[in-house]
């Protein structure tokens, strides 16, 4: 046996040992998930976790994909393309707004038919116009669709004149829906319905 063959043999032994160590280490990362899965404690925790999840009718809003789902006990009643916040920031001399749809859990507080929009300051600044001093100049009819569902803090689920922009992040934080979807939602989701936004 030549010297090279001896070294090759030694090399192979070490490689084998290394591979063995690798095999030994791989299972340590995964643990043993099945060990306590059937225990009573796990079942109790799962029940408790399940009790937090919503029951009945609820609304899910995916702000990334711009999709709104109306669900009842997990079953999808409606899937709609919507528009959510643009996430851009507008700065004026003394104020700053970030147009983001608020994530988290909300609830439908009220429903308004044929809503009238009271234009906030940013709506004027965005167009390069001065903020009016007369309150009456702020009101505008017919731009929010047939229904507006109040989810709190000035945010609404409402209709739009710009249906071609549905599916994009273009709003000032409200959730826009097409006319048919808005009507379906307004009829099926009673006041108090939870709205989950993520």
């Amino acid at each position: 046996m030549s010297r090279i063959e001896v070294w090759l043999a030694v090399l192979l032994v070490f490689v084998a040992l290394g591979a063995l160590a690798a095999v030994v280490f791989i299972p340590t990362a995964s643990g043993d998930p099945g060990e306590l899965r059937s225990s009573e404690r796990v079942a109790e925790l799962r029940r408790e976790l399940g009790s937090l999840a919503p029951r009945g009718t609820y609304v899910l809003v995916d702000t990334g994909a711009n999709r709104l789902y109306l669900k009842r006990n997990g079953e999808v009643l409606m899937e709609a393309v919507c528009s959510t916040g643009s996430r851009r920031t507008l700065i004026s001399e003394d104020q700053r707004w970030t147009f983001e749809t608020p994530r988290g859990i909300h609830a439908i507080r009220s429903k308004v038919r044929n809503p009238v929009w009271r234009r906030p300051d940013w709506a004027f600044l965005e167009e390069g116009n001065p903020v009016p001093t007369r309150e009456a100049e702020r009101y505008e009819e017919g731009v929010l669709g047939e229904y507006a569902l109040d989810i709190g803090n000035g945010y609404f689920i409402h209709g739009t004149l710009y249906s071609r922009l549905l599916g994009q992040n273009v709003t000032h934080g409200c959730i826009r829906l097409g006319d048919r979807d808005l009507e379906f939602l307004a009829r099926r989701a009673p006041v108090g319905t939870k709205v989950y936004i993520y």
């Binding site: 030694v10 995964s30 998930p33 976790l49 999840a53 940013w122 994009q168």
Partner: protein, 236 residues
């Protein structure tokens, strides 16, 4: 500029608390589910986002590798690198050259999210998310920006007795962007059943091979070294 503060953050952050059993993991999940904000559960082959225990999003993983010995743990998300893109417009009422800010180009959508990013958790764990667009594992080691952070993380892991974790997750670029969109500083990140610990295994193999190489060089050098000439005295 952020490199050294980040290094300090990684070196002095506390070690993660391991959740060895499924009930500990569920307890941590229950705690997060009581809050009104999204939390994510990182598993072997997917990331799931929950809100009040309700699963709202599932993103598949192509692979998930870990360096560290804790099978699972819970922590808050501290920092996302790069930062969320921002588009700021300064409104100017009555200015002649200001024509409004209602342009569609001002919006920020999923397409603006990074497909490769680093998430740093409150326990010091680094979670590197890579996708197919423009990045490869080799880029990880050739880019000084990422390499320095991961090297620091690795050293911290070694120094703290193997409690730290380095997570390397690969996913489709659309899913990675969606994950970045979902992640927000302060939210809970649960690590469930771990992924392949190939990094550790590779390190073991590499150490074995390195030792072997050194032994070979040393032995070969010793055997081939010419014998010391005897001191036969000075010759003139």
């Amino acid at each position: 500029m952020v490199r050294w503060p980040l290094a300090a953050l990684l070196l002095w952050s506390p070690a993660p608390q391991p959740l060895e059993t499924p009930d500990r993991l569920l307890e941590a999940q229950l705690e997060l589910a009581r809050e009104d904000r999204v939390y994510v559960l990182l598993e072997r082959d997917r990331v799931r986002a929950f809100l009040r225990g309700l699963e709202v999003q599932t993103l598949p993983l192509e692979s998930h590798d870990i360096l560290g010995t804790s099978p699972s743990s819970s922590a808050r998300l501290d920092l996302l690198i790069p930062k969320l893109p921002e588009k700021v417009v300064v409104g100017c009422a009555g200015c002649d050259d200001f024509t409004g800010t209602t342009s569609l180009e001002d919006r920020i959508g999923l397409q603006d999210m990074p497909a490769n990013f680093l998430a740093i958790l409150g326990d010091g764990t680094c979670w590197l998310v890579l996708s197919e667009s423009g990045w490869s594992p080799s880029a990880l080691w050739t880019s000084g920006y990422w390499r320095s952070r991961l090297l620091i993380r690795y050293l911290r892991s070694v120094v703290s007795g193997g409690q730290g974790q380095l997570l390397v997750t690969r996913m489709q670029s659309e899913d990675a962007r969606a994950l970045y969109w979902t992640l927000q500083p302060g939210m809970g990140v649960l690590r469930g059943e771990g992924g392949r610990d190939w990094l550790l295994a590779s390190a073991v193999v590499a150490v074995f091979l390195a030792v072997l190489g050194l032994v070979c060089v040393w032995a070969a050098h010793r055997r081939t070294r010419p014998a010391e000439p005897r001191n036969l005295g000075r010759s003139f």
